[in-house]
């Protein structure tokens, strides 16, 4: 017999005994009837006490109710026995980290009294240093990665070790995420999954996580997934221009970025695309394109291609080798990483 059935049988026995006791007193209101009625009441309580399938505290509570409140107590005991709560294990398994909103005073203290991250990283206190590294690891944007790489070059071996492990951890996580995204894109070829895979791969180039040795290979894979995404929905291929151009610019190939942006610049009308076009034109030293980008869409579309022949000393157009051209970094905003690296 299952535990629930045993409980039900015990409560039923107790209930039957209790009803019998009350009926006996009602039918035979004599003094002699009190003893058998009391015995039946005791049987009811005892049957509840024998409920081994429930926790002792609940069992005792049910018995106490049955004892103190004839008839009604049995109903309440049945409720006690039948209730199913969440166990402690479930509570423990599901509980999340403590969420505590930082007060205004706390934020002010951190902003005014807190040292810059570089200074915290150089702290002699290992716990402070590790907490700063952990914070960078939690939010691994380009600034955080730059700070971790900067830490590698600092003289303290412990700081370098902590930073190296943090970068390794981030690389592992990125490798796992990108492998998952690529597998999904390969398993179910669709525009969105291909874009997701490409974006995941490209993120390591954008935030600087990818080593120089790996950047070309990662970029090649990202380009491949962007190309697949474009092929899967040719009508929406122009929408990918911004992402693809950003990747090319991050790979220090502004000519390729321009080649991707130029055909859609004026049809898309995306301000981000215009900004990226300006950056790419600056990086490629195609200052002639700057004026065209600001011109009216009709004019720009009309004289979109081919590129005008460059002056003798100007860099070549897209499609020609651009290896000798110095890269001009124009997409960085003022941030801590900028002065870490020095002037671009």
């Amino acid at each position: 017999m299952r535990a629930d059935q045993q409980s039900l049988a015990a409560v039923a026995t107790a209930g039957a005994s209790e009803v019998a006791a009350v009926l006996l007193l009602a039918v035979q209101p004599h003094a002699w009837a009190v003893l058998p009625s009391g015995l039946l009441h005791v049987v009811a309580v005892a049957s509840l006490l024998r409920l081994r399938e429930v926790a002792p505290t609940r069992r005792q509570l049910a018995a106490a109710m049955a004892f103190c409140l004839p008839l009604i107590g049995i109903a309440m005991a049945a409720l006690v026995v039948g209730l199913r709560g969440r166990s402690g294990d479930e509570l423990l398994a599901g509980h999340g980290p403590v969420r505590r909103a930082a007060s205004g005073a706390e934020l002010t203290r951190r902003l005014t009294a807190g040292a810059p991250t570089c200074q915290i990283l150089l702290s002699a206190d290992a716990e402070t240093r590790r907490s700063a590294i952990a914070a960078l690891q939690r939010d691994p944007d380009a600034r955080a990665i730059a700070l971790l790489r900067w830490s590698l070059a600092q003289p303290g071996p412990d700081l370098a070790l902590d930073a190296a492990l943090a970068l390794e951890e981030l690389s592992v996580r990125h490798a796992e995420r990108s492998a998952q995204a690529c597998a999904e894109a390969d398993r179910r070829p669709a525009r969105d999954s291909a874009i997701a895979a490409a974006e995941e791969l490209a993120s390591a180039i954008h935030n600087g996580l990818a080593d120089p040795a790996l950047r070309p290979a990662i970029a090649a894979r990202a380009r491949d997934y962007y190309r697949r995404a474009a092929e899967l929905d040719e009508h929406r291929a122009p929408e990918l221009a911004l992402s693809r151009a950003r990747l090319e610019l991050a790979m220090l190939d502004p000519e390729a970025a321009l080649a991707l942006i130029e055909p859609v610049l004026h049809t898309a009308g995306d301000p981000q695309l215009r900004e990226l076009h300006r950056d790419a034109a600056h990086a490629a030293r195609r200052f002639d394109l700057l004026a065209r980008a600001d011109a009216s869409p009709a004019v720009a579309v009309a004289d979109r291609a081919p590129c005008p022949a460059p002056p003798a000393h100007d860099p070549p157009c897209a499609g020609e080798p651009s290896v000798a051209r110095p890269a001009v970094v124009v997409t960085w905003h003022a941030s801590e990483s900028e002065w870490l690296h020095g002037s671009a």
Binding site: R52, E53, P97, G114, A132, L152
Partner: protein, 529 residues
């Protein structure tokens, strides 16, 4: 407590070696060192106590235990999973035990061990009284888990050490930290004339309390830094939940309270071993300085470097064959290309701490300008996911024809097939690989960790006069390692000079018999004292 002994009745050993997660079940540098010590000191009788987490987590012994080992015992500090909510019989038994504990112990406990655990967390220093109180082992696990006195200590420690954390988290972390400690404190330890632990941590604690109980000396040889290794694990541990750090853009230097609690617990274990040890052996000066920063008293510290066997024929021998012309970029399409390549070896386990990924990236960068034949020599079964990642990296870089995973090899074969040895570890103490490569007359490129710099550039004035025996590079810096590889590939003469310096250095300062002689003298002095 879960201890079993290989021999029912064993004579009292002269030295009981306390080994945590290493010899004879795990291959590696520390195990090789232990095996050499035990094998090369046949006149000393040893008892071995291996401390592990859970029975069954180790396979068969990787080493044949020498005849002078009188006893091999195992001690496990964690038990299997506890009964689930459906196991009513086990729950009833547990409730009976809790009831018994509560009846016999009030909110104020007479346990000196509980008081010592409290002092261990709250106090900065370690004294004789603390170690002596721990050695009494008068606190049962049931009392730790269920007594009001233990709960009062948990509450106090929570309020004083980790009020930022959730109490429920702290409560469970306290239990998880201390239950293994109590098992170890209560465990019988082989009877021996002296105790020698090869790490701090749990092995150091067991050694310290055994030393107090028997009034016999404790030696400590630290191959790595237990506290730092645990800190590294803790900083990456996903099983510790941290309070919400708030806005990530605003610097918040407040350390994670639970990680800090664990870290300080392990640091306290190290300080207990340092306090009780009669002598503390460092592998090098750099490590000695770091031990002092972790709390080791300077007057107990002495330096005994690792050593390797140097065949007499190796002294003054000429270098290895120089490849024909590695100073050209590799041509993957040319099958004969490998015969002209510089043979580069990574010797070690394929695990994250060795940073094999950086080694692969460095080789890829170097292969753009010179021709290399790269061998990754060592087991890759310890962290299969990492090994897969490294192999995928090689494939992604399309370097399968130049970078090969060849698995473990006998030491005698490894160095005869190489021209340069590279070590890109995140963390090392005194890697035997560098000494073995030096003995074989091979130049080494190693990261600036542990005592690698003094092993390659010299420790004392005379040592430095021998000249460098390799290149020291920055941690996790593929470009730096690639530059060193390119430099060595381009100059057979430089390789020969570095190799000769390495051979001379190992012969002069890192011979196995020198190390053994010093340990023989140390054991003799300890036992006589």
């Amino acid at each position: 407590m879960d201890r079993r002994s290989a021999t029912a009745i064993a004579p009292r050993a002269q030295v009981c070696l306390l080994l945590e997660g290493t010899y004879p079940y795990v291959a590696g540098g520390v195990s090789s060192w232990v095996h050499r010590i035990v094998s090369d000191l046949p006149e000393v009788s040893f008892a071995l106590l291996h401390i592990g987490a859970v029975r069954g987590s180790y396979g068969a012994p990787r080493y044949t235990v020498p005849a002078n080992v009188t006893e091999l015992s195992e001690l496990y500090c964690q038990t299997g999973p506890s009964p689930g909510p459906a196991d009513l019989a086990a729950r009833r038994e547990l409730e009976r035990r809790i009831h018994r504990v509560r009846r016999h112990r009030g909110p104020v406990s007479a346990s000196r061990t509980l008081a010592a655990l409290r002092r261990m967390h709250l106090g900065e220093g370690v004294d004789d009284a603390l170690v002596s109180d721990l050695a009494r082992a008068d606190l049962s696990i049931a009392e730790l888990l269920h007594s009001d006195a233990a709960f009062a200590v948990i509450t106090e420690l929570y309020e004083r050490l980790a009020p930022d954390a959730a109490f429920l988290d702290f409560f469970w972390h306290f239990r998880a930290m201390h239950a293994p400690l109590l098992r170890l404190l209560a465990a019988p330890v082989p009877d021996a004339d002296s105790y020698h632990t090869v790490s701090t941590g749990y092995a150091g604690l067991v050694g310290a309390v055994a030393s107090v109980r028997t009034n016999r000396p404790l030696l400590l040889t630290e191959h790595g830094f237990y506290t730092r290794e645990r800190d590294i694990e803790l900083s990456r541990a996903a099983w510790i939940r941290d309070p919400d750090p708030g806005d990530p853009r605003i610097p918040n230097p407040r350390p994670s309270p639970l990680r800090r609690f664990w870290s300080r617990g392990f640091a306290a274990l190290s300080r207990i071993a340092y306090h009780q040890a009669q002598s503390i052996v460092s592998l090098g000066d750099n490590l000695r300085q770091q031990q002092m920063s972790y709390g080791a008293p300077a007057d107990k510290l002495l330096v005994i470097p690792n050593g390797v066997a140097v065949p007499a024929s190796a002294v003054g021998a000429t270098g290895k064959r120089a490849p024909a012309d590695p100073a050209e970029p590799a041509d993957p399409a040319d099958p004969g290309d490998r015969s002209r390549a510089l043979r580069v070896g990574f010797v070690g386990r394929v695990v994250p701490i060795k940073d094999v990924a950086t080694f692969i990236k460095a080789c890829d960068l170097a292969l753009r300008s010179v021709n290399l034949d790269v061998h990754i020599i060592g087991p890759d079964d310890e962290d299969p996911a990492y090994a897969r990642r490294c192999k995928a990296l090689v494939a992604m870089l399309a370097r399968e024809s130049h970078i090969r995973f060849v698995g473990p090899k006998p030491a005698a074969q490894i160095y005869a097939e190489l021209d340069v040895v590279v070590l890109t570890s995140f963390s090392e103490s005194q890697p035997l690989v560098i000494l073995e490569a030096g003995a074989a007359g091979l130049p080494v490129i190693a990261t600036d960790v542990g005592v690698c710099r003094e092993m390659l550039e010299g420790r004392t004035g005379d040592d430095r006069a021998l000249g460098p025996s390799g290149r020291v590079t920055r941690v996790a810096d593929p470009e730096d390692t690639a530059a060193a590889l390119t430099e060595l590939a381009g100059s057979p003469r430089l390789r020969a000079e570095l190799g000769e310096a390495g051979r001379a250095r190992v012969h002069a300062y890192y011979r196995s018999n020198q190390m053994i002689d010093r340990y023989r003298a140390l054991y003799r002095a300890t036992l006589e004292a």
